[in-house]
């Protein structure tokens, strides 16, 4: 009850829908983030109605939105993206780090040795290097394409957009572009200039084997972990009437 003994006005279901639409219009398409902002705005508007019961929903919303500053929700979305990306990479590197401990490190050392020896003995090692880059690139592109299809399907099923999905999709797009677009010129020169020397092979092997394992962790191991995480997020955001 407020000072006039009128029952406190509460946000109704239609207004909740309007708040979701409002966040969407202000560049927050992700349901997980929308939900938190909708509850915040609803609480703040209800608090305003306790003091000024006759204030319209639209005016109260405009007052509250102003408090988010001139950038609106943009800063929150950007920071959330940064936080989730960090969370995702931390999970990957935690898993990746296990390859530097016994017993997995044995596998890493064996593969490094085999690759080094193969490149050293081959008269066409520049082509082997190119082929390895090519294979890694194709694996990235195929995995990225599959991921995009999968999230499109999940978004259709849940009828919602989720931030974590988009972040992983962006990483899938970013990595081949970063890794391959920048090295195409370098790789072409390598292919033309002939075979590699002893030191070039050693450096390449030391870089390439861990990169391969990192790709394995991202593409093979991570989707299961992300699926678990997404199942938890989606379940949490199911509204039980």
């Amino acid at each position: 009850m407020n000072s006039n003994n009128i029952p406190n006005r509460l946000i109704d279901t239609i207004e909740i829908e309007k708040l979701y639409a409002f966040t969407d219009k202000h560049f927050v398409p992700y349901y997980d983030l929308q939900t938190e902002l909708v509850d915040h705005l609803a609480n703040a508007i209800e608090a305003q109605w306790m003091v000024t019961p006759n204030l319209s929903f639209e005016d109260a919303l405009a007052i509250e939105f102003k408090k988010f500053g001139i950038f609106g929700f943009t800063t929150i979305v950007e920071e959330r993206q940064a936080a989730l990306s960090k969370y995702y990479w931390r999970k990957i590197f935690r898993e990746f780090a296990t390859f530097f401990r016994f017993p997995k490190i044995v596998l890493m050392l064996i593969m490094t040795g085999v690759l080094y020896r193969t490149l050293l003995l081959s008269s066409y090692n520049n082509y082997i290097v190119l082929a390895l880059f090519g294979i890694m690139g194709i694996v990235e592109i195929v995995a990225g394409y599959q991921w995009c299809r999968k999230i499109r399907h999940q978004q259709k099923v849940t009828e919602k957009k989720w931030l974590l999905h988009d972040i992983i999709r962006n990483i899938y797009i970013m990595i081949p572009v970063m890794l391959f677009a920048n090295s195409l010129n370098f790789l072409f020169k390598m292919a033309v200039n002939g075979t590699f020397g002893h030191w070039q092979i050693a450096i390449f092997t030391i870089i390439m084997v861990p990169l391969g394992f990192l790709e394995y962790v991202r593409i093979v191991k991570m989707p299961a972990l992300i699926d678990q995480e997404m199942a938890r997020i989606v379940k949490n955001h199911q509204f039980v009437k």
Binding site: L10, I11, D12, T13, I16, T35, E36, L37, V38, D39, H40, A42, N43, A44, A47, K67, F68, G69, F71, T75, I76, E79, R80, A83, L84, K86, Y87, R90, N236, H237, F239, V240
Partner: protein, 111 residues
């Protein structure tokens, strides 16, 4: 936030301390609690609060619980085990900071 430069670095510690005391809280509740505890002196802006909460969550210091609140969903934050340990560290750090600031500022005040 009032005097933002001075308070900015302590926002996460403030959040963690509140969660340590109150168990679990949601975003809007935290802004109101800070306002109430400081008699309206300190106003945590939405643009600073949510990034801080999301950062702490991503670092594994906070856990999240969703719950139905009337006709909407509410996201509650609570400290994880590592979050509880981190709160103790950060509070100790903040106390040392306050002590040092007092030692530095006090002589000037006495003049």
């Amino acid at each position: 936030m009032k005097n933002s430069q001075l308070y900015k670095g302590s926002l996460t510690t403030i959040i963690m301390r509140l969660l340590e005391e109150n168990g679990r809280m949601y975003g809007y509740e935290i802004t109101q609690k800070v306002k109430q505890l400081t008699d309206g002196e300190l106003n945590v802006t939405e643009g600073a609060l949510y990034p801080a909460l999301h950062k702490l969550e991503a670092e594994g210091f906070l856990d999240v619980e969703m719950e139905k609140a009337g006709n909407r969903l509410r996201k509650y934050y609570k400290l994880t085990e590592s979050g509880e340990k981190e709160t103790v560290n950060r509070l100790a750090e903040l106390e040392a900071f306050i002590r040092n600031m007092q030692a530095l500022v006090k002589p000037n005040l006495e003049i």
